[in-house]
């Protein structure tokens, strides 16, 4: 991940879209300061409600996480503690951050489990993760992350592991809770369909960099970066059944051999002479429409 500029206001949704390995999850982990060694944040700042998260001590950051900033992880199967009942996992944050007593935390956790659509939450409180289905576990994850009413929620592929009918339930739930809590939401996904329907602004990432950032409607109607354009064109929905799909040739580069130029240049149909030499800056082309490509200068 490399040189990300991004902003989010209260009550808004931002999406980060990209393919596997493009650095979108790393962006989220950086905001949460959860980068595992040997990874390191080597520069930049993350301003949350006026404070630079990168300057906080580990202790201060811990008070932030799960409290004012929260995260939903991709894998509901592996992100829960298998030897702790789901209710206690939800209550843990409340006892820690809100200093609630055991009984109060239990009551609050039951209420939240009910809000995220778990039937008979008092009874399910003492269940363990393995007793629940994938959709249920993802609800528990959401309940955990929302227990302390955070101001900002980061959802990293919250529905990728789930079936479409369950995905629709979960996305609707996140939307509703976002409205109720006036929460800012960062949605990380590879699914352009999920993005199109619920984010105000969308960033497209490729090879560790944001290559385009625009209001979602504008991005879909008027994609400027050749990668965004190729991605949208390659959707089966944008071809007639049975016709060949429009493809982006080549494959996703690995980030270890980083070249000086634009990461997309090997697959790009346009290719200017500078592409291989140096990386273009993000440039504002329309109102709020930023793009990183030598086509626009």
């Amino acid at each position: 991940m490399n040189g990300i500029d991004f902003s989010l206001d209260e009550g808004e949704t931002r999406a980060i879209v990209g393919e596997s390995g493009c650095g979108k999850s790393v962006t989220a982990y950086s905001i949460m300061r959860l980068i595992a060694s040997p990874g390191e944040i080597v520069g930049g700042e993350i301003i949350f409600a006026g404070t630079d998260l990168l300057r906080l001590t580990e202790e201060e950051m811990r008070r932030m996480r799960g409290n004012r900033i929260s995260m939903i992880f991709q894998e509901p199967m592996t992100s829960l503690n298998p030897v702790l009942s789901v209710g206690n996992q939800v209550a843990e944050g409340l006892r820690l951050h809100r200093r609630l007593s055991r009984g109060e935390a239990r009551a609050a956790a039951v209420e939240i489990l009910g809000q995220v659509g778990i039937a008979s939450p008092e009874r399910r409180f003492d269940d363990y993760p393995h007793q629940m289905s994938g959709g249920m576990r993802q609800r528990v994850m959401i309940a955990m992350s929302l227990a302390c009413r955070p101001q900002m929620l980061i959802a990293d592929e919250p529905t990728t592991a789930l079936d479409v009918t369950i995905q629709a339930q979960i996305l609707e739930l996140i939307d509703r809770l976002k409205e109720e809590n006036r929460m800012g939401l960062i949605l990380i996904t590879h699914d352009l369909g999920v993005v199109a329907e619920r984010s105000h602004k969308t960033a497209i990432m490729y090879a560790g960099k944001i290559v385009e950032y625009a209001p979602t409607l504008e991005l879909f109607n008027n994609p400027l970066h050749p990668y965004t354009e190729g991605l949208l064109n390659s959707l089966p929905q944008n071809s007639r059944p049975g016709e060949p799909l429009k493809t982006i040739p080549g494959f996703v580069p690995n980030l270890i051999e980083q070249l000086p130029g634009c990461g997309f240049c090997d697959r790009c149909p346009v290719k200017c002479w500078e592409c291989r030499e140096s990386l273009p800056e993000m440039k504002e082309v329309g109102t709020g429409h930023m793009v990183r490509c030598w086509k626009f200068r």
Binding site: V164, A168, V194, A196, E197, S234, P236, Q237, P241, L245
Partner: protein, 325 residues
């Protein structure tokens, strides 16, 4: 019925499952009475959510697991009555492409050996001639000759899926069973593989069983579609019939749940309540009644038969006509 390449009738597969250390034996009805057929040169898309039994159908058609009841007929011959030689010919004529391009290739074999192995197994080509054929296949699926001596770990997911496809094509099969062949791939790579499969289908006049949960992929590839729910087919018909003129509330909900990549395309979304019921303890009557927004009393008690409502368009719902026509 000459042009039907494979068909099943009343196909069932039950797995015995023990619940708890002293629990009684239960039957998991993964596939519960499935009738389907694929004609020569046709692509049948089999769709449904995880756990609905679609992969088990694929395995039954491949002959990888024996059915608990019912028959699979391949070109009019019962799969479980074939002699040794016929069986071996069947194994050549029907090939499979797997979902996970990482675990379905032997990490200790070179690409050339992986693609060449079917030639060896069926005694079709050896030595220099085998190598020549392998390289020809590699060119067809977009790999260079220099890749012959590489190992699978040196390739990306999309390239590995190409290797799996080449291996399946090596023995000129008539039917390809593809179980979620593109779901593990990145979006920009998915389109490449879908195109490759469509080209190869034309070139080799292949029949396809395409198993997936992705409704946009299935719309793109299939001639006919079957929708499965809890081990049963709930609707089947031509692509246009099933996707645009559906007759089952589950099909409707499944299609409505797919997010559309068009911003704020406001549409009325049907949100199904609840989870897929456990196949160990399926609901009485219609299997879908616990989540169906239109369920009535009869749905809880009477299982609806899979009925032909229009020519070649079947649905298993008591209220198909009332709801959708």
């Amino acid at each position: 019925m000459n042009d039907v390449i494979i068909e099943t009738s009343a196909l069932r597969k039950y797995f015995p499952v023990k619940s708890g250390p002293f629990g009684k034996k239960l039957l998991l009805k993964a596939v519960d009475g499935v009738d389907l057929h694929i004609k020569r040169g046709e692509t049948l898309g089999l769709a449904g959510e995880s756990g609905c039994g679609k992969s088990t159908v694929g395995k039954l058609l491949m002959g990888l697991i024996p059915p608990s009841a019912g028959v699979v007929n391949f070109r009019g011959r019962a799969l479980y009555g074939m002699g040794k030689e016929e069986r071996s010919a069947f194994r050549k004529d029907v090939q499979m492409i797997f979902q996970d391009p990482f675990s379905s290739l032997n990490p200790r074999m070179r690409v050339g050996e992986i693609i060449g192995e079917p030639f060896a197994i069926h005694g079709l080509a050896a030595g220099a001639r085998r190598r020549e054929k392998v390289i020809e296949l590699m060119a067809k699926i977009g790999l260079a000759e220099e890749h012959y001596y590489r190992y699978p770990h040196e390739f990306s997911g999309g390239q590995r899926q190409r290797i799996g496809i080449a291996r399946a094509l090596a023995v000129s099969p008539q039917l390809l069973i593809a179980d979620e062949p593109v779901s593990a791939l990145d979006l920009s790579i998915q389109a490449q593989i879908i195109n490759l499969l469509m080209e190869l289908k034309q070139e080799y006049r292949l029949s396809f069983l395409f198993i997936t949960h992705d409704m946009s992929v299935i719309r793109h590839l299939s001639d006919r579609i079957a929708i499965m729910y809890l081990g049963k087919i709930v609707e089947t018909g031509s692509r246009a019939d099933v996707l645009d003129r559906f007759l089952h509330p589950y099909t409707e909900a499944l299609l409505s749940a797919v997010p559309h990549p068009a911003p704020y395309a406001s549409k009325q979304r049907i949100i199904l309540r609840g989870d897929l019921p456990s196949p160990l303890n399926p609901p009485s009557g219609c299997p879908f009644h616990t989540r169906c927004p239109y369920a009535e009393q009869i749905c809880r008690s009477e299982p609806p038969p899979l009925k032909e409502h229009e020519p070649d368009h079947l649905a298993a719902c008591h209220f198909s006509t009332k709801l959708f026509r």
